[in-house]
């Protein structure tokens, strides 16, 4: 981005105006498509303006971690496919993709969204594994919020596949009536700091000029379950307080859409 554009955006931000005429606390239009992929145990596609994220949940059976012998396993991965943006390159996930996956993972894990103890088949030996895979279809800023929203929506719509105890095999294709035990819906809200202004749901231009970024994940009861700061600038404690309040309010609005 060139200097003039950069200054223009910074100027706008200082007047609390945004390039797409949104208010500072406004999200772009959120569209949620539930279970677009039949082959996945659960899936969701979330469009946040032009940002487009597809999340699928697959279930498998594996060994539990030795420190949690009676709990299921959650794994979250993200792929920034070169399909989605001219600057994305192929190859294994880079640090930004890993960061995104870990922020989404933390929101789900720390909020206790999935009742992991219910995913135990046989203690110490067999548990359900939950694979959450995030695929970016189009990147136009704020992939974290879109991915987190798609992930929790997909999990809420996940049905376990049929597990045949005799053959010890999963019969994929047949879905049981059992839903994945999801008890909370964590929602991520990301702020971009440009100058002294904080913008909710930054688009790609705003992300380019922002000095810092904070993602706040909130739970149904208003608790905070994950935080992630990014960027070179810093926040004051008052700024953080404001962002937490806004994210709780925004989280409530968005949670209704899941």
């Amino acid at each position: 981005m060139n200097k003039i554009q950069r200054q223009y955006l910074a100027n706008l931000a200082s007047k609390n105006v945004r390039i797409d005429k949104r208010k500072t606390e406004d999200f772009r239009k959120i569209e949620i498509e539930k279970n677009p992929i039949e082959n996945a145990e659960g899936s969701a596609r979330v469009r946040l303006g032009k940002t487009d994220v597809l999340v699928g949940v697959k279930m498998g059976i594996g060994e539990p971690f030795s420190d949690r012998p009676n709990e299921g396993v959650l794994m979250t991965g993200a792929e920034f496919s070169p399909l989605a943006h001219p600057d994305f390159e192929k190859g294994p996930p880079r640090e930004d993709a890993i960061e995104l996956a870990r922020v989404v993972d933390r929101g789900i894990r720390e909020s206790g969204a999935i009742d992991m103890k219910k995913l135990c088949i046989k203690k110490d030996e067999k548990v359900w594994m939950v694979f959450v895979d995030i695929q970016i279809i189009n990147h136009d800023g704020n992939m974290i919020d879109a991915a987190a929203l798609a992930a929790i929506t997909a999990l809420c719509n996940t049905k376990l596949p049929v597990y045949n105890k005799k053959t010890d095999m999963i019969e994929y294709g047949k879905k049981s009536a059992t839903k994945l035990p999801v008890s909370y819906k964590p929602v991520a809200v990301t702020f971009a700091k440009i100058g002294d202004t904080f913008l909710v749901d930054p688009n790609i231009e705003e992300e380019d000029v922002m000095g810092a970024r904070l993602t706040v994940t909130t739970k149904d009861n208003g608790n905070i379950c994950a935080l992630q700061k990014g960027g070179s600038e810093a926040f004051s404690i008052d700024e953080i307080k404001t962002m937490l309040d806004v994210s709780i309010k925004k989280g409530k609005e968005i949670r209704k859409m899941i």
Binding site: L54, G56, P82, A84, I137, D140
Partner: protein, 241 residues
């Protein structure tokens, strides 16, 4: 036309039942949408039955790494991948031997349709992501990629259409699906430029006489011609006045 009537006749004898009561010469319900990835120079989504692929095209753009560039033409890079949740059992993300091969044959299937000599010292990147897999991912990928290339405004000789065909019992069958793949004596995916009447991709696994192979290819060509119409419709819908 001879092959079409022939295969119809065969089907009456065999009276085999296909998923969704399809006729042997019928492919699954097809949806083609152009322009689904706003960031890309050209893009398309193709859905054939359950199988769904998104393709996006970036370029012609400058070549990286630089030593790869050709003074007289564009280079075309094609990458095919499947998302982990596209299959019944989760497939590992990242390139595999299978996806590497398919990337190559798809690139080779599209290359004859592109006027690469019009874009010297550049590269054209094609990315195909299969978001749901249920037989025929490579052919669906080719259909999407070719529409995406046209959507990007790249000079082309023709739009490439692609479909697979095989033979079950004594019937020639278009667009094998699921269990039919195991029942079929062979699986022949082709890519075809209907206007040029040229075949740009041909693969086969199976055990069959030469006569049968020709019949199957002809059946697939007929299928490609119908798919070609759908691809044109999608482009007209996006760009037509």
């Amino acid at each position: 036309m001879a092959s079409l009537t022939k295969s119809l006749k065969c089907s009456k004898e065999a009276k085999m039942k296909r998923p969704n009561n399809r006729k042997p010469t019928e492919f699954r319900p097809l949806t083609v949408v152009a322009g689904v990835v706003p960031n890309a120079d050209g893009s398309a989504m193709v859905k054939l039955g359950k199988t769904t692929a998104i393709a996006s095209v970036y370029g012609p753009r400058s070549v990286y790494p630089k030593w790869k560039r050709k003074a007289d033409r564009a280079i075309v890079n094609c990458t095919y991948s499947m998302v982990p949740f596209s299959t019944d059992e989760r497939c590992r993300p990242g390139p595999s031997r299978r996806s590497t091969e398919i990337s190559k044959v798809i690139g080779d299937a599209l290359l004859p349709s592109i006027f690469v000599e019009e874009y010297p010292k550049t590269m054209i990147d094609i990315y195909i992501v299969v978001i749901q897999a249920h037989s025929g991912t490579r052919t669906v990928g080719i259909n999407a990629a070719s529409v995406a290339l046209a959507d990007a405004g790249i000079s082309m000789r023709d739009i490439v259409s692609s479909v697979a065909a095989g033979k079950i019992d004594n019937t020639y069958v278009l667009d094998l699906e699921g269990k039919e793949e195991d029942a079929s004596k062979c699986d022949i995916p082709i890519a075809y430029m209907p206007r040029k009447k040229k075949i740009t991709l041909l693969q086969m696994d199976g055990d069959l006489s030469a006569k049968d192979v020709i019949e199957i290819i002809n059946l697939a060509r007929k299928g490609c011609e119908q798919i070609h119409e759908k691809q044109k419709e999608a482009l007209i819908k996006r760009w037509g006045i």
